[in-house]
Structures are given as structure tokens and as C-alpha cells.
């Protein structure tokens, strides 16, 4: 039975916004531990709600805008985000990730453990492929993700 969902969010034609999808595609080509499912959910925010119920644990990978060097990645839980900050008001989509998580919790479907892996983008303009900065750091970012997956399985 699948217990860990690794979910990539993003748009591969908005440059570094596609980092979550790129990581999912890279992992698909490699050996991953049993019980791990890899998902590319694209940019549809609320759809993630229907995937969450299938897992005990999830890692959600997305580009994040916060202070720091492009290519830096960090793991955090939804509780660590300032909910009254910009995340609630500047979502570009139908419903943002935090709303989906909150709804999932209210429905009693939220996985026991939710980890967000955020990667700071350099470039979010229209275009295919990652920026050179992220490309350079990609092996390291992938390694960190693989370590986290092992930790959780």
C-alpha cells in the first residue's frame, strides 16, 4: 500500500515554477522506495485535496517566494507559514495549497504528516526549462529530496 505521496506542483512553462514537476520527472527515472507514489498535479490548486486522502504522509514540492538564494530549498510544515501573510491573499489560483490542506483536515482526510519542500526560484517568466542557477543546483536539490523520502519511509 502506498503510504508516502510525493506531489509536485508547478508549471513547466513558467521557468523555475516547474521545479516541482522537474523533480517528479527525475525521480520517475530512478529507483524509489516501495510505498512511494510520485504525482505531477500541475497548477490546479484544489485538486490536491483529492490526492491528500490517499496517503499517510506527503511531501509537497513547490517553488516558493521568500527571502534567500535562488536554488535554496527548505522543508517546513504548513503550521510554520504565517497564515495572515501574503500566502492567503496572493494566490494565483482557484484555491491555494493551505486552503486545500485546511479543508482536508476538516474532512478528516489530512495525512498524518505534511511536509512542504519549497525551492526559491530565480526566474518565473514564461519559458521552458529551469534557470541556469537552478539547473546547477538540481542534483543537490534532488539529493535532499531523496534523503527526505528515505527518512519518511
Amino acid at each position: 500500500m502506498t503510504t508516502l505521496g510525493v506531489i509536485g506542483i508547478g508549471n513547466p512553462i513558467r521557468s523555475d515554477d516547474g521545479i516541482g514537476i522537474e523533480l517528479i520527472n527525475r525521480l520517475k527515472a530512478r529507483q524509489i522506495p516501495e510505498g512511494v507514489e510520485l504525482l505531477d498535479v500541475g497548477t490546479s490548486g484544489m485538486n490536491i485535496l483529492h490526492h491528500l486522502k490517499n496517503f499517510n504522509k506527503v511531501i509537497i514540492i513547490d517553488a516558493i517566494r521568500t527571502d534567500g538564494e535562488p536554488g535554496n530549498c527548505m522543508f517546513f510544515t504548513p503550521d510554520e507559514i504565517d497564515k495572515d501573510g501574503s500566502i492567503k491573499t496572493r494566490s494565483t489560483h482557484d484555491a491555494n495549497l493551505l486552503e486545500a490542506l485546511e479543508l482536508s483536515e476538516m474532512l478528516g482526510e489530512r495525512p498524518e504528516e505534511v511536509i512542504i519542500m519549497g525551492i526559491i526560484p530565480e526566474d518565473l517568466t514564461i519559458g521552458e526549462g529551469l534557470s541556469s542557477k537552478l539547473k546547477e543546483k538540481l542534483p543537490k536539490i534532488e539529493e535532499e529530496l531523496r534523503k527526505k523520502i528515505e527518512e519518511l519511509t
Binding site: 497548477t43 490548486g45 483529492h50 516558493i64 496572493r90 489560483h93 479543508l103 519549497g118
Partner: protein, 436 residues
């Protein structure tokens, strides 16, 4: 009159993308009334140039996270038109099925998660989880069903993989279709519950009428989504190849998105436009819901687009059952997985027109003899609606100036949300501020 009003909504919420509402009134006179679209232009038409006919539908599917299936289908139809590729009757039925799934998915999301909070006065879907848990679960069940349906036919819920020029790389099994039919049949109670819920709250929609033109696809055979010709409530029908003469996109100062017009200053596309053009072809159960809301063609109240969306969801479910019955009745023609239709590449131009949740969508591609794209044009539903939103706002704002400012603001926001605009679905990054 001493009505001084200053409405300044930056980044309207519960719509896709970024738009502003600006209304100023001085002594009861409107000085400014603008629907501003402030998205960065997206340049998809340039991005697909130099790509192969095999890739275009994957790229354009990423235009939108909500209408990714619709963009995929409009793209495939344009490519198939340009390269003279035919698809089988079975593949056509499967495509109609997945388009129903997407329409349901999008409409339920809009009516349930985005519009209902206005009618219930909760400002967001989250409070509904405690105030109306059963109703919310109904909405979520229907949304989930449409997602499962998209995944079954397209390979995943969004950005489908199995739809390719000439057909499908993998098709569902008869057993899977039988199971899906069962689930769709079981959704009847949920649909009725949703109609009850909307009916109980529908008096929250402002009374408003403004005569306008409605444009959608139409077909002799069915309530058109996948196939048809262009139809206007003002001027009759046009072949799809005439789309540029119907859409007439133009640039305005207040918006980075283009506006469009045909017979009047503006026109409307989407569920209400389809319903106004094709009402008689709705499934009987869907027509029953329309009658409950007294929605008859031609309806000129844009707020009724929310109701039209729910009516279409009922139609989508009922017509999907009918399509599965036909597929199973004819017997599913087996096909190997990873199937690749044989395609003879040629030079040419093709146009695909498909009804997606927010209205009629056109993709127009030109290919060279190698099957490489040399030119592309996409006319997106929300762009066709911007001018109509502006004109509605110009009529609505002066008529509600005597209301409290908060109510004026809410009514104007509801007007824009009724169109379910998808201003930009092309980026998804989180803005994160950590708790200090």
C-alpha cells in the same frame, strides 16, 4: 444625491489570476468605473512556434490548470484539422466524455468553492465545513467524481497524457467504464442536493439585466461542447473558420488582456451563452433544474451564469451516462497501450474550436512540411468576456450607488466572479512569509 463612493479592489479574490475593480463616484455621478486586467501577457503563441505537431497539445495544456483538458482538445483538433488526421467514432466519444468531466470539475469548483461563499456570506469555503458540512461534502463528492473521471480517461486529473493527435495512447477498459457509469448514476442525489442548496441561496444574486450578445458553439446533433459551428444570439451562425471575424480582439488601456466584440460593444461566452443558444438540447434532468430557477433563453442576467453552470453539471452527468451506454452498446474496440496512430505529416493550417468551462476556445496553428509549427493563435474565453464585464459594471454600478459601500463592493465582485474568469492560470508559486 450625495453619494461619494470609492471602490478599489486590487487583486480580486476567488477568481483565477489578477484583476482589479475601480469605481469612483462623486455626488452620485460615476467618475470612473473600470474592470482592469493586470496580468503579464503570456506569449503562448510564440512559445509553440518551432515545436513539433506531437508536442503542441502538451505545451498548451499548461496554459491552464483548470481547463487543461479543453486546451488539449482544442489543440488536438487544430493539429488534426491542419494535418488531415481523422479519429474514430469511439475516440470521439471518449473525448466528449473527458470534456464533460472537465466541465463538471471546473463548474463544481466555481459554484461550490468560489461562488457559494458569496451567497452564504462566509467569504471563503472553509467556514462551510463547520456551518454546512453535509452540503460541502456533497460538493466535494461531485468534484472528486469528476476528477476520477478525468484521470480514468486522460491518465491523470489535470494535464492529460493519453490524448494524442489521432486518438488515445491508452483507453479505459469496459469494466472501468461500467464502474464509472455506476458512480455517475449514484451522483443523482448529490446533484439534486446541490440544486436545492443553490435555490435556497439564489436570492442573494442581484436583480440585474443588460441585453447583450451570447456566442457559443452549436450543433444539430447535441448540446455542443466538442464539436459544432459558431452561433450568436444576435447574428446567427458562422463556420469555425470565420472565428477571427467573430472575435475581433482589440487592445484597451486598462488591461493587459485583449477585449473582444462582434455585433455590439461586447459579448458573453460560457455556460449562460451555451444555454441561451442550445437550451432545447439539454438533458431532461438538466432542463428540470433550469425550470426550477425559471432560467429560459435568452436570459440577460450575468449572475445567472452560476446557475447555468450547475445546470450544465447535471447535463454533463446525464450525457456521460448516455455516452458510456453507447460505447458499451457498440462494444469497446480494443487497442494496445502506448498506441501511436500513423500520421502523414504535411503542410497546412488548422483551427480547433471547443467549448471549455468558461466559453468558446479557439486554437489556430500553421505547420510547415515537416510538421513544425510556424504560427499560432489562441483566443481564450475570458478575453472574450472582459468587454462584457466592463459594460455590465458600467450599468450595475450607478444602479446600486445608494447601497452601503461594502455592499456595492460585494455586488461588483460577485458580478466579476459570476463570469468565473480565468485571468491567468499559468504560474503557481507560493508566497511564503514565515511566522516570526
Amino acid at each position: 444625491m450625495s453619494n461619494n463612493v470609492n471602490i478599489d479592489v486590487e487583486y480580486l479574490t476567488r477568481v483565477e489570476g489578477h484583476g482589479n475593480i475601480k469605481v469612483n463616484a462623486n455626488n452620485g455621478n460615476i467618475e470612473k468605473c473600470e474592470w482592469q486586467v493586470i496580468e503579464t501577457p503570456r506569449f503562448f503563441e510564440s512559445m509553440v512556434v518551432d515545436h513539433s505537431w506531437k508536442e503542441l497539445h502538451h505545451i498548451t495544456s499548461r496554459i491552464c490548470g483548470i481547463c487543461s483538458i479543453g486546451h488539449t482538445l482544442a489543440s488536438l483538433r487544430a493539429t488534426e484539422d491542419a494535418l488531415d488526421i481523422n479519429i474514430s467514432h469511439q475516440d470521439e466519444l471518449l473525448r466528449k466524455l473527458i470534456l464533460h468531466a472537465e466541465n463538471m470539475q471546473s463548474h463544481i469548483l466555481h459554484v461550490g468553492y468560489l461562488a457559494l461563499p458569496d451567497l452564504m456570506g462566509t467569504g471563503s469555503v472553509l467556514p462551510l465545513a463547520s456551518s454546512h458540512p453535509e452540503e460541502l461534502k456533497t460538493v466535494i463528492r461531485l468534484h472528486r467524481l469528476s476528477n476520477e473521471m478525468s484521470a480514468l480517461i486522460g491518465g491523470r486529473t489535470t494535464h492529460p497524457q493519453r490524448l494524442i493527435p489521432g486518438g488515445f495512447s491508452k483507453i479505459p477498459t469496459e469494466k472501468e467504464l461500467i464502474e464509472l457509469r455506476e458512480k455517475l448514476k449514484n451522483a443523482t442525489n448529490d446533484l439534486t442536493a446541490c440544486a436545492d442548496l443553490l435555490e435556497a441561496t439564489a436570492d442573494g444574486f442581484p436583480e440585474f439585466q443588460r441585453e447583450t450578445e451570447f456566442i457559443s458553439l452549436t450543433s444539430d446533433d447535441e448540446y455542443a461542447f466538442y464539436d459544432g459551428i459558431i452561433s450568436s444570439t444576435d447574428t446567427g451562425t458562422y463556420p469555425v473558420s470565420d472565428y477571427l471575424n467573430v472575435t475581433n480582439e482589440f487592445v484597451v488601456d486598462q488591461s493587459t488582456a485583449k477585449f473582444a466584440k462582434n455585433n455590439r460593444e461586447s459579448y458573453m461566452v460560457g455556460a449562460l451563452a451555451r444555454l441561451n443558444n442550445n437550451y432545447d438540447q439539454l438533458a431532461p434532468m438538466a432542463k428540470g433544474v433550469a425550470e426550477r430557477f425559471n432560467l429560459k433563453p435568452v436570459n440577460h442576467n450575468p449572475f445567472m451564469n452560476n446557475v447555468a453552470q450547475l445546470i450544465e453539471v447535471v447535463h454533463n452527468v446525464r450525457d456521460s451516462i448516455k455516452i458510456i451506454d453507447v460505447l458499451l452498446g457498440e462494444g469497446l474496440e480494443p487497442q494496445d497501450d502506448y498506441y501511436e496512430p500513423k500520421v502523414k505529416v504535411k503542410q497546412g493550417r488548422g483551427i480547433g474550436a471547443v467549448e471549455v468551462p468558461r466559453g468558446i476556445l479557439f486554437h489556430d496553428y500553421t505547420y510547415n512540411e515537416d510538421g513544425t509549427c510556424t504560427a499560432a493563435n489562441c483566443v481564450i474565453p475570458t478575453n472574450q468576456n472582459h468587454a462584457n464585464i466592463q459594460k455590465d459594471m458600467e450599468k450595475l454600478a450607478p444602479s446600486i450607488l445608494d447601497k452601503p459601500q461594502d455592499e456595492i463592493k460585494l455586488n461588483l465582485e460577485m458580478l466579476v466572479r459570476a463570469y468565473d474568469p480565468c485571468i491567468s492560470c499559468s504560474a503557481h508559486h507560493l508566497d511564503v512569509e514565515f511566522v516570526e
